[in-house]
Amino acid sequence: MNAMSPVLRVSGLAKSFVMHAQGGLELPVLRDETLDVAPGECLALVGPSGAGKSTLLRSLYGNYRPQKGSIRIRHRDDWVELVNAEPRLTIDVRRHTMGFVSQFLRVIPRVATVDVVAEPMLRLGASPEDARRCAEFLLAVLGIPERLWTLPPATFSGGEQQRVNIARSLIADYPVLLLDEPTASLDVANRNGVIDLIRDRRDAGAAIVGIFHDIAVRDALATRLHAVEPPNAPARVPL
């Protein structure tokens, strides 16, 4: 495929939340989002707090369900539509094509850190030895001490859990990566390690969409900015 042609195309995306406990109050968040991302690009979503950056990112991952518009992604040499997709299609896209790095690790009780990280690669059919080796490599690069690898991450610090989360999200080499504040709660040394890893992925041809509040991180990674405009506030929001 031509390196310049997009692998993710979003058009006319609209998302609002209807709160039934507040008498069906409708909160519009995304009105009409349109964007394209090509391999090797890192699109940074910018806009004030509450503008809907996270809502947009979660909609791209299929975690939130937009009411209108289209999210098309190159998946297994084909274009597929993710808005109103069958669950099994979304699951397959997440397994093979699109990774998501959130700020929080959803901890699985009792599973060793190295196995938490290796899991996405195992699911793609890698041998347990290869998956384990890659997991150990990523954990080492991200500065997780070796003595912690066999422990479950439940008791780790916030920064350690976040780095485990990043390792888990990067191990499968997804062609499309979504990043929600990947360096929040990391110190400078670890932040730089994460920047290097993500930049390598970008330069190797991953298409990335991210939210980076830290300007230094954004400058290091973003190739383009995409402004997310705050929706017009509803007349009155009951609290």
Binding site: F17, V18, M19, H20, A21, R58, G62, N63, Y64, R65, P87, R88, T90, I91, R106, I108, P109, R110, V111
Partner: protein, 256 residues
């Protein structure tokens, strides 16, 4: 690819009351489907209709067998349905006493299903029983003890071993972690999650616990008053609930 299990407009009434109304869905190989909703919403009735334990008043349940093509679960003879239930299917009850034979040893509970499908070599059966005791983290020293001497969590793990020993393709689970202490629950959940992954099981899981659903299922159906009010990927339904009832359920989770 064809669905493993297809429910078409399944409706079940008890007297004048409709327990589940017009429920349709496809379960694909490798999927774990959760059915959530509060007590009395019709979850267990639906599960029993799917597993052929209850005859629906309307609609059908079609299952794709391993080698004999598709069958209508409710048109099978009782003998064939029972055979299916102990070869290609498993059923994990909330109350392990209903799924186990309390009067025989743990080893015999696991081995029984193998014998029912033709295993006759005592050494092999014993070996399979020991292997499964290990997989569900039961102490091998307890293999000759009866489940009456087991704790609730141990019984539930034994019930799971008994169900999985025959290598089923589809497992029905009715509140498998209900009534267990939280720490015992976590261990069981983790075990189930590992087994589902390792043996590529498909499953239909009934639970009222959204945390259990989040950890184990790919997809959810939310039931209220006998109807499915919302369905989708598990994280969609829990993170972006659309229906008033689902929003209420999600908002009712107690933060820890």
């Amino acid at each position: 690819m064809t669905p493993l299990l297809s429910a078409k407009s399944v409706t079940k009434r008890f007297g004048g009351r409709v327990a589940c109304r017009d429920i349709s869905f496809d379960l694909w190989p490798g999927e774990v489907l959760g059915i959530v909703g509060e007590s009395g919403s019709g979850k267990t009735t639906l599960l029993n209709c799917l597993a052929g334990r209850l005859q629906p008043d309307d609609g059908s349940v079609v299952y794709e067998t391993a080698s004999a093509g598709t069958i209508d679960v409710h048109r099978l003879s009782e003998a064939r349905r029972r055979l299916l239930a102990r070869t290609e299917w498993g059923f994990v009850n909330q109350d392990a006493r209903e799924g186990l034979r309390m009067g025989v040893s743990a080893g015999a509970n696991i081995g029984e299903r193998l014998m029912a499908i033709g295993a006759r070599h005592y050494g092999d059966i014993r070996q399979a029983a020991s292997d499964w005791m290990g997989r569900v983290e039961l102490d091998l020293d307890r293999i000759d003890d009866r489940p009456t001497t087991y704790s609730g969590g141990m019984r539930q793990r034994l019930q799971i071993a008994r169900n999985l020993v025959s290598n089923p393709r589809l497992v029905f689970m009715d509140e498998p972690t209900g009534g267990l202490d939280v720490s015992v629950q976590a261990r069981l959940l983790d075990l189930l999650r590992g087994l589902v992954d390792r043996f590529h099981l498909s499953a239909v899981l009934v639970t009222h616990d959204l945390g259990v659903a989040r950890l184990l299922t790919h997809r959810l159906m939310v039931m209220q008053g006998g109807q499915v009010v919302e369905a989708g990927l598990t994280d969609q339904v829990l993170d972006d609930p659309q229906h008033a009832y689902t929003q209420m359920l999600v908002a009712s989770i107690l933060p820890v």
